[in-house]
Each structure stands twice: as C-alpha cells, then as structure tokens.
C-alpha cells in the first residue's frame, strides 16, 4: 500500500480526435511503463474497432510510477474514459474515481461540444481541472485563441495551461508535474470499513468478471469476503492487482489506490459500474453516491440475412453482453425479415460499434431496421405500454397519448453557420432554448429536441450543413407528450412490418412521400407492377409504382456467351439472395435502411 500523499488519480478528457489517447501513450512511454519497442499506437484502446475509429469505448486504468522534480516518486493512476456521449454515465463513474483531470483541447480546433460537456462533468464532480492545449506542433495551431476560448467559454483559468504535443512528446512532462502539483491526493479513512467504487468491468474467459475499482476507505486484500452492495452479492476476493497495463497481482489495495478485482463471479450483471464494494461482515451501510441502472436509449431490430445464422446471432449477443452489460436484447420476429432480436443500445455509436463487432468478430451478415426510441403509450384505461418497435404500437382507438424521450442538445458552431443549424433544428422539431458566444469564433446553441429526431441522421446532416465545423452533445431530459402516429409502408398492397415507423403527425405526409419515392428507386422492377404506399391506419397518404419489368434478357448467346450468361445468372441469383422476399416482392436490403436517411 502506498502513502496516499504520493498517489494522484486523474483522467484525461477531451472532445473526440483532440489527441487524448496519443497523449496517454506518451505518458506510458515517459514513465517507462511500456518499453518503447512494445509501444503500439494507443495502447489503452485495445479493441480493434477502438483503435480504428480512434475512440475509447471501455474505460481503462493504468498505474504509472513518476519520478517528479521534487525528487519523490509518485503513483499516478491514469483513468482513460470513454470519449463519447453514449457513455456519459461511464464517464461520470470514471471521474468519480479521480481527484483531477487533464482537459485536452486541440490547439487548432479549439473548444468543442464535448470539451464543454466533459469540463462541466469534471466541475460537477469537484475535480481539479488542468487545461492542456494539445497538437501545438500543427501549422494551424493557435494556442492563444484556444487559451482565450477556455477562459471565456469554460470559465477555467488558462494562463498556466500546459502547451503540449502528443505527437512529439513536448510538454508531457509539464503535464505530469502539474498533476503532481495541482491534483489533490486522495483522502480516505484507512481504518474505516472497505468502500471501493466499481468504475468499469470486463469479462475474462478464464477469470470471470474483472472489475476496475478505486478504494475510497479501508483496504481490500486477497481472501477477504466482500459484498457488492446494489446487487447484494457476497463473494470472495480471488485476486487484486494493478494494471501496468498488464494485470500485476498485489497483496492489497489501500486508500486512494486504483486496480482490479477478481472474484470468480461469472455473471456480469452482478458487477455493475457505479456499484460499491464493501466488507461482507461489518461493512459500510452507506454506498457511494451516483449509482444508477444504465438504460438503453435506442433500439433496433437486428436480423441475420441468412435465417440459418439466427442461433449464431444469439450466441454472439450472449458473448458480447458479457463485456457490455449495457446491451439488452429480446427475440422478435418480423413477417418480412423472419427471426431476429430487438436490441437496445446506449446511443447511436454504441449501436454502430456493436453491429460492427457482431459482423466482424462473429462473421455475421446482419440487417438492421430503422432505429427507434422507447415510446410510452398511455391507453384510455390509464395503463402505460412501452413501445420499442413500431409493431408494438397500440391501436389508435385505445390510445390516450404518447410520450417520447427528449434531449437537451448543445451545438457548438462558428457564427456563420448558425442559420444552417437553426434551419435543421426547425425541421427536426427542436425548440430553441438559448444561444451564447463562447468566443468570436464559437457560438453555443441549446435546443430541446426529441431523441427520435436525433437518431434520424441528425449528426450527419449537422456536419454536412456546417462543413464539418459543428460539434454536438446532448443529455436526456425526460419524456414529453408528442402527436405521434405509426406510418405503414405497403408493398403490393401488403404492409411490411419492418418498414413501419413512428413519426410526428405533421411530418407524416412529407416523410411518407419522400420514402415511397425513395423506395421506388430502390426496389427493382419485378415481373409484375408493385405499388408502394404509405398509410396511416387505413388512410393512404402517398403512392408510387414500380412498373413491371418488360425486358430482361441477354439476347446474345453464342459460344463464349453461354459461360458468361451462366455467370451472370448466378450473379443475379446471388443478388436475389441478398434480397428479402416480402410476399412476392423482392426487396433489397437498402430499402430497410432508406427510412434512416430521409431529407425532406
């Protein structure tokens, strides 16, 4: 156990792409935690997808030993947090394990939406904030402007901001000196009963669930009997250790220390982020504050394109859930798509990452239906039904009202794009709250808007209308009543369940029209005419027709053509396999995604 006055627990927070992970890599190198020759770009982002996308999905904790200018050696625990709004809760728990943060701001990009969101979170957690202006080696770097933005926009004093470059390593030592000097050392009661915060966990095939913990009071050692409070689980401590970044077992972890805990538990749902670990006997009665159940916000139907892969998809989801308890799923079936699962995600990025991992790591071909949010449908009889899929929508005759989740969104954008953002927000049923200038080059806009509008390619639209300058952050602010209807799409007179969606009544007509037009372009001509209709209940609001195919023949069929023709027919057959037969109509996969990208 280390003297708490020689411990510093801190996190690096930043907007995506501002160089957080590269900076963390430099810290590992500078402290000789990782030998230069073992240095893989972004050591802490260990998942392939994380490394490729340059994002952090899981929290990480690594202990480094730092010889400071004052001649003493400090134990620094660097807790790398997920860098995306989908994982806000995880970030807040990681921050709860720290006393300070390094707030990284790109010297060219300046303050962006997640910079603000992260800084606010750190302030709310009463953490010491050390501003660091990164990438000062870039030709476009403008540290003076960025310093000004930090002071004006975030009200954080920045005259002593560290100037650094993760790329060259310049300023990294200054940053660590600032951590030692400015971040308070942990304070706790070594004599009190154990109180440790679980700030992340992962599943190891051999060891079971591995929890990352920060000890607040008391200490934890191998062989102890401990209780995980919220899930009321009593278990033995099989092993505790520290991550450097490989797991190194230690005898015990004391006040202020960060490390891992292995209990032999195999069920990840018993070891939840934010929960408190205490002694099984005479433990504390007051858990650490801030624990909550994580709830998925976005739902989509995932279907194997090849129906035979349904059991494989189930196995894959089970395996992913071990490492990602936030993922929830239930079997569902669709007339159009067969058997699949309704899967709940923390947000859009989470959804994309999970889908990509399912396809890549488990070799599945998946079709995802339009994402949906969780609607609350109140019936005339006073009861409430949860609607996660358009198919679950109760009959309008029984419906009293529907509520949908709302967000407070923050958009940071240069002033010249404010008009474009306002126009987009207007189309997305957003209500303007306020606007302020963070600096001469950055405007901070606040809107309240339905989550369902955000998941309809809002971010893509925002980026394209602001030439990529806008940054976005949001938080959930609860459910609000909306005038929503279920819009059905009918092909050849039959409703296709997988194409239905829930939409605001005022926008139903426009969206139905755009979608039927779009489907007309996507659905290939068939042997018979295919009417495409959009309908609310029995009322058809728009109609398009795919004309019957009249000619589909390769006229030339001589010697060499016969082989070519066979190949072509086989290719056509393959193409047909990629399509879903809905009744007698062959529907390409893009059709099911068309609902996502609808510009009015």
């Amino acid at each position: 156990m280390t003297d708490p006055t020689l411990i510093r627990n801190f996190s690096i927070i930043a907007h995506i792409d501002h160089g957080k992970s590269t900076l963390a890599d430099r810290v590992l190198q500078l402290t000789h935690t990782v030998a230069d020759r073992d240095m893989v770009e972004q050591v802490l982002d260990s998942m392939d997808i994380e490394r490729e996308r340059g994002i952090t999905i899981k929290a990480q904790a690594v202990r480094v030993m730092y010889d400071a200018d004052d001649g003493r050696t400090y134990q620094l625990n660097l807790i790398d947090t997920p860098g995306h709004v989908d994982f806000t809760y995880e970030v807040s728990r990681s921050l709860a394990a720290c006393e300070g943060v390094i707030l990284v701001v790109d010297a060219a990009q300046g303050v962006e939406a997640q910079t603000v969101a992260n800084a606010l979170m750190a302030m709310n957690a009463n953490l010491e904030i050390i501003p660091l202006i990164n990438k000062i080696d870039l030709p476009a770097a403008d540290p003076e402007r960025v310093r000004h933005e930090i002071e004006e926009g975030l009200a954080i004093p920045a005259d002593e901001a560290v100037l650094a470059s993760g790329k060259t390593g310049e300023g990294v030592r200054d940053a660590l000196e600032a951590v030692v000097r400015l971040v308070p050392h942990p304070v706790g009661d070594p004599g009190a009963p154990l109180k440790a915060l679980i700030f992340d966990s992962y599943f190891d095939t051999y060891r079971g669930v591995v929890a990352l913990i920060r000890v607040m009071d008391g200490s934890i050692a191998k062989g102890m009997k401990v209780r995980i409070m919220a899930t009321d689980t009593v278990t033995d401590v099989e092993e505790v250790g520290v991550r450097r970044p490989a797991n190194i077992p230690v005898d015990s972890l004391g006040v202020g220390e960060v490390g891992y805990l292995i209990t032999g538990l195999k069920d990840p749902s018993l070891v939840k982020v934010g929960d408190t670990v205490t002694l099984a006997h005479h433990g504390t009665t007051t858990p650490l504050p801030g624990y909550r159940e994580v709830k998925p916000m976005v739902y989509t139907g995932l279907y194997p394109i090849d129906g035979d892969q349904y059991p494989d998809l189930r196995d894959a989801l089970e395996r992913l859930t071990l490492n990602d308890p936030a993922l929830i799923w239930d079997p569902e079936s669709s007339h159009a798509l067969g058997f699949g699962f309704r899967v709940g995600f923390l947000g859009l990025l989470h959804m994309e990452v999970v889908k990509e991992r399912l396809e890549r790591e488990f070799n599945l071909d998946l079709l995802a239906t339009a994402p949906s949010v969780e609607y609350h449908a109140y019936l005339m009889n006073g009861s409430m039904e949860i609607v996660r899929s358009p198919q679950d929508m109760p009959d309008p005759g029984y419906l009293d009202r529907i509520e949908e989740p709302y967000l407070l969104t923050t958009v940071l954008v240069p002033p010249e794009y404010v008009g474009a953002v306002m126009e987009l927000a207007d189309q997305r049923r957003a209500t303007f709250k306020d606007m302020q200038y963070l600096s001469a080059t950055t405007v901070d806009l606040h809107y309240e808007m339905p989550l369902s509008e955000l998941i309809m390619d809002f971010f893509d639209q925002l980026k394209s209308r602001t030439k990529g300058y806008a940054s976005l952050d949001y938080e959930y602010i609860g459910y609000r009543q909306s005038n929503l209807v279920k819009l059905d799409i009918l092909l050849a007179g039959k409703p296709v369940d997988a194409l239905s969606f829930i939409v605001h009544r005022d926008k139903a007509y426009a969206r139905g029209k755009v979608l039927t037009e779009k489907l007309r372009g996507i659905i290939p001509r068939q042997m018979f005419e295919v009417p495409i209709q959009a309908a609310i209940g029995s009322k058809v609001i728009s109609r398009e027709t795919v004309r019957a195919k009249r000619k589909d023949v390769i006229a030339k069929c001589y010697g060499g053509d016969i082989t070519r023709k066979r190949k072509l027919l086989e290719k056509q057959k393959e193409g047909k396999k990629r399509m879903k037969s809905v009744g007698s109509v062959e529907v390409p996969q893009e059709a099911f995604m068309a609902i996502l990208k609808v510009d009015e």
Partner: protein
Amino acid sequence: MSRLSLPLVSRPVERTALPAHLYVHVPLCSSKCAYCDFCSVPDDGAISHADLVTSTVFAAVGWQRFGMEPAPLQSLYVGGGTPSVLGGYLRMLLTGIVRVYPLAPGAEVTVEANPESLDARLVCDLVAAGVTRVSLGVQSLDDGTLSWLGRAHDAERAIEAMLLVAASGLDLSVDLMCGLPRVPESRWRATLRSVVECGATHVSVYPLSVEDGTPLASRVRSGRAALPDDDIAAEEMIVAAEELSALGLARYETANHALPGKESRHNTAYWTGRPYLGIGAGAHGMLTGEQARLAGLLGEDKAARTARVRYAYGSDRLLLDGACEVEVLETLDAAEALREDAMLGLRLSAGIPFELAERSGVVPALEALEADGLVERAGGRWRTTERGWLLGNEVFGRVLDADGTPPASPGGFDARSARVLSSSGTRQA
C-alpha cells in the same frame, strides 16, 4: 539414299473424333467500337496478317495431335473481331483451315464482315474459298447513330455491302441493334425493311448492352451518353419480330430471324449442345469430357464425371507456331448439361420436347414459369411465350437453377486448367 516415304499407320477403328463444328477467331478490327468488349485489337500493323494466318492454321493443326480424328465439318464460322480486315489473307486462312478440317458436303461456312472492309474483290475471294454465308455488322442505317456507336461505316456503305453480298449469291445475315437512343419507331421499321430488301435472309437483333470497360460504359457513367429505357428496347424487339415475320423471316431464336432454311446451322449447334472447336486468341470452344481428356485439359477422373467442358484461349496473340494458353472455364456433369440443353432449347422458338424437360428435371420450374405466363405447352413441347422472350433471364435462370446445385466452379478441380496447346503437340505448363 532412300526415298522418303510416309509410314504406314494402322489406325484403331473407333477413334474419338474432333467436333464437327469449328469456330475461328480473328482478333483484329479496323477500329474498336464504343460498345465492344470482345477480344479484338486494332488492325494497325502490329500483327502481320501473314503471321496471323500462319499461327491460326498451326493452332488448328495442333488439335489433331491428341489422337483425335478430324470429323468432316458441318459448319465453319470465322468471326472476330472483323475477319474481313484480312483482305486477301482471309482466303489463305480459309484454304488452310479447310485443308486441315475438310468440309462435309453442304457444310455451312460463315465469315463475319464489316461494311467498310467488304468490297467486290473480297466477296470474290470468299466465294472462291467455299464460303456460303456472310454475316454483316450493319447495326443501324442511321449515320448519326453509327457514329455515336463508333462504327467506321455509314448507311450508304452498309447498303452497298449488303447489295454486293446478295448479288454474289452468298447468304446474307445482318446484325442490327435496338435500344439505341433517338430512333423513332417508323425509322426502326424502315431499317428492318431495308435490310431485307437489300437481300438479307437472316437478321439478328440485339439490344445495345453497356459492358464494363468499354468507352460507352464510361460515357454512360459520366452522363455523356444516355441510354433508352429497357421498355423501348423491349418494344423494338417486338416490332422487329412483327416486321420481319411479315417479310417471311420467322423468329427461330431469342434474337434471330430467318427465312425458312436460312437459319444459322453453326449457331444452332451452340444452342443444341453440340461440341465445337474454337481456335484463336480469345476463342471459346466446347468439348465432351473425353475430348477434353485427350487434349490434356482434364484428368482422367474428372473427365469421367464430365459431360461438357468449355475452354477459352487466352486473349494474347497466338505464338507463330499456334501455341497459346488455354483455360478450362467450366465443366458440367451430365445433369448440368441436360439442364443447360433445356435452358438453351427454350431460347429456340421450337422449344424443348417434354422428354428432355423430364430427363433434365426442370418440369417443376417450367410449371411455375407457365403459371407466370412465361412458357407454354404445345404439340408435345415446352416453349417460350411472347412475354417469356423478353423476360428470358427469368426463364433461363429458373431452368438452370432447377435443382439448386451450382455447376462445378471453373478451374477448381486440379492444376490442369491452364495449358499450352501448340502445333507440335507438346504441352508446356
């Protein structure tokens, strides 16, 4: 000193014969058309005509070194490319080939020609060399359309060439394209009537198709060329069948119309599953399993399980001794070959007898197609309906796929897929 004499060879009585149909590819064109993805190179002197004739004849000789007898040819087809660019050498080529592969009495000998390279002198040569039929690439009788297609001739030249062939007594077959931009129906009908009036006894009508890698494809992709809707091509194919049949040329295959007795016998061999030898850079051929085994294209085991083998010559020019890479493209077992017979048979207006449909196991597929109105039964045969002609891929795809097992993948069986056939009969890897 003794006189050189031919050794007396005692021949086995039942030797496997080579195919009775021969295709010779001349991979030269005066210029490349905008839509063409065939194996051809510009006739710019890089390949001398004499060398081309020599190497082709040597390649033809090479096939006889595998212990197979030449069968008297029922049909010989010299295609391209544009064989007519060879001028006087074309006669040499024909003479050489026929020396090696004697013609059966009444054999059909077709040469492809383009209007710009066909003159009276060439026609005389063709008659002298025993040619019976000329297939002329007219494509259109509209000057604007012809230049849009990148053709080297104009309408006037095309008419002269047609009249010249017809006057010589040779059978005249004309290729026309439909589905071209901006052709009013009246003009299309007039074109069809003109070619018959100029003496065509056989007319092929193809919709223009945009093939990858052609100048036309890049023009279409960049938006510089617009293609008419498939519906227009369909309409024009219907009009062609109507107009030509009124002139006595009945549709006998998806895209081919002829006066009775003037149907192409060579092409009919393709459509009825007869083996044929293909020779020349880029040429395709089709052999029985046994023929392919003797030629060294298939191993013994594979050959025993194979009914039909398709091969292709590489697209590089032949070596002077006729040697060239030959690749097996696909092998079909007996069941697959039967299904293919059924598929190809349905491209013919005669259709297929019930017996073939049953043997090939495609009856359920045909019944489903019948329900969709694409095929019908008449006189003990299944045949394609008017609607079925235009939706041929639906018909052929479902027939080929009748039992769901895909044909063997080309080249997947052993290392013999690439061979070098040379006139000396030695095969180098």
